[in-house]
Amino acid sequence: MTTIDIDHVSRWFGNVVAVNDITMTVGPGVTGLLGPNGAGKSTLINMMGGFLSPSTGSVTLDGRPIWRNEQIYRHIGIVPEREAMYDFLTGREFVVANAELHGLNERAAQRALATVEMEYAQDRKISTYSKGMRQRVKMASALVHEPSVLLLDEPFNGMDPRQRMQLMDLLRRMGDEGRTVLFSSHILEEVEQLASHIEVIVAGRHAASGDFRKIRRLMTDRPHRYLVRSSDDRALAAALIADPSTAGIEVDVTEGALHIQAVDFGRFTALLPRVARDHGIRLFTVSPSDESLESVFSYLVAA
């Protein structure tokens, strides 16, 4: 059992408060740290990783302080968001160096490289790697000592769908093995697919915590706004408003488009193409007009 305890932690940089009085416990299994860009996720992860001191409060691992305690890294593996690594090394040299710094040998490095399926490219220079390959070598470097805690900052950024799936499988496996895995993301779908437990951070504050289904419902039940252009806007509007999944439709004559407010997200997304087909209407544009994360999160905070 390895647990990270964040107790009334705030962190400010000059006048800017990046993290504001957050208390949470991260235990075994996969936890997703969700929040829009600039919410303070990286600041929080940096404090959990011992690279930043809390301005107030404490961050501990099983009761031991993390800040200024290098022995804690026997239990923590870190996958930073930043791309920079020792680009002049080959993947294998890099992971071997990481193993040696833990007092381990090349076998540990090879095992970690096998875990992330990077053996095929291990003798190429890191500077030639794609983003996804870099991410996997970073993972390998964090796994060499089989840590009980794994911290990942935006691990899926820039990965293609296949790489994303692979990494998700790997993290899920780590969580199932009883490791404490925490990753940050600003994309709800990522967090939802992977994490059984979600912590939401908005503007430095702890906005929500718990099961993803609860948070998902909060997020999907909110009214969604869509902008739709079609071959017959009025006929489409008339047909859509008859269904309870829409709450309002505005015909924007100057724009030549419909502004639709949907209240039942799931039902509406199934309804729209069906109605269009049934009425012989062609859809030119369907775009969500308030999908910006800020609006999603502000809705969540208000809820």
Binding site: F13, A18, N37, G38, G40, K41, S42, T43, I45, N46, G49, G50, F51, L52, S53, R68, E70, Q71, I72, Y73, R74, I76, G77, I78, P80, E81, R82, A84, M85, Y86, F88, L89, A97, N98, E100, L101, H102, G103, S141, A142
Partner: protein
């Protein structure tokens, strides 16, 4: 105190970067100058001392010290890759000490050896001048590496500050303000060189006992403080 893995990474980072070209260019320039001077004026002890004191020790050694000292840690902190060293159960002073050893070794190889060879070219080590300046370069390498390693740990503008210290403070202020020379690694190492040469061709403004104390004190203090700074190094997030 010494970690071979940290050392290996540091060597490869130092010698693999484009900056490393200066490490080769400056000694090459020194040898070209030495060859040209010898060809034009013949062997002359005073001129040999002027070239080694004025270019090798006053310019080349500190610049190579800046490149090796700041380069041993600065770029890693700048781009954030130092996190892979820091996220390990390795004592911070061990990381600093190891990097210091590497920086000292690189500075010595690229400054002291060319200084000795240039001395041989200039006057065949007459009056022990080549040996004296080589000893000065070896000693200065240690202090420069330590000071510039500390600069690389505490500031992102370490190269600029390092060059300002080496060229403006030591060279410019040192020649205008006599007092500034007391606080100059170059003068301290010259004090040792003066002892080795035992003639008026190599002189320092600082006495040998004081120079020894200052050299040792600065090296130890800079290294200790760099270790402390690394313990509390804060990696700012991207946000």
């Amino acid at each position: 105190m010494y970690d071979p893995t940290v050392a290996r990474l540091t060597y490869r980072a130092l010698l693999g970067r484009r900056r490393a070209l200066i490490l080769f260019a400056l000694p090459a320039l020194l040898l070209v100058i030495a060859g040209a001077v010898r060809a034009l004026t013949g062997a002359d002890d005073q001129i040999a001392s002027n070239v080694l004191g004025g270019f090798a020790l006053a310019t080349m050694v500190p610049i190579i010290g800046v490149i090796a000292g700041t380069g041993a840690i600065g770029p890693e902190i700048d781009d954030g890759s130092v996190v892979y060293l820091l996220a390990k159960p390795v004592k911070r002073p061990t990381i600093i000490f190891t990097k210091l050893i590497v920086a000292v070794a690189v500075t010595m190889v690229f400054s002291a050896i060319p200084t000795f060879v240039a001395g041989l070219i200039l006057n065949g080590n007459g009056q022990q001048i080549a040996v004296a300046y080589t000893v000065a370069a070896l000693i200065a390498s240690i202090a420069y590496a330590a000071v510039f390693l500390l600069l690389g740990t505490v500031t992102r503008h370490a190269v600029v500050f390092g060059l300002v210290y080496a060229l403006v403070w030591e060279a410019l202020f040192g020649s205008l303000v006599p007092g500034a020379r007391t606080l100059s690694i170059q003068q301290w190492s010259l004090a040792v060189a003066q002892k080795v040469a035992g003639s008026d061709l190599v002189t320092s403004d600082v006495g040998l006992p004081l120079a020894t104390v200052l050299l040792a004190g600065v090296t130890v203090a800079a290294t200790w403080y760099a270790g402390q700074k690394l313990r509390t190094l804060t990696l700012a997030g991207e946000e």
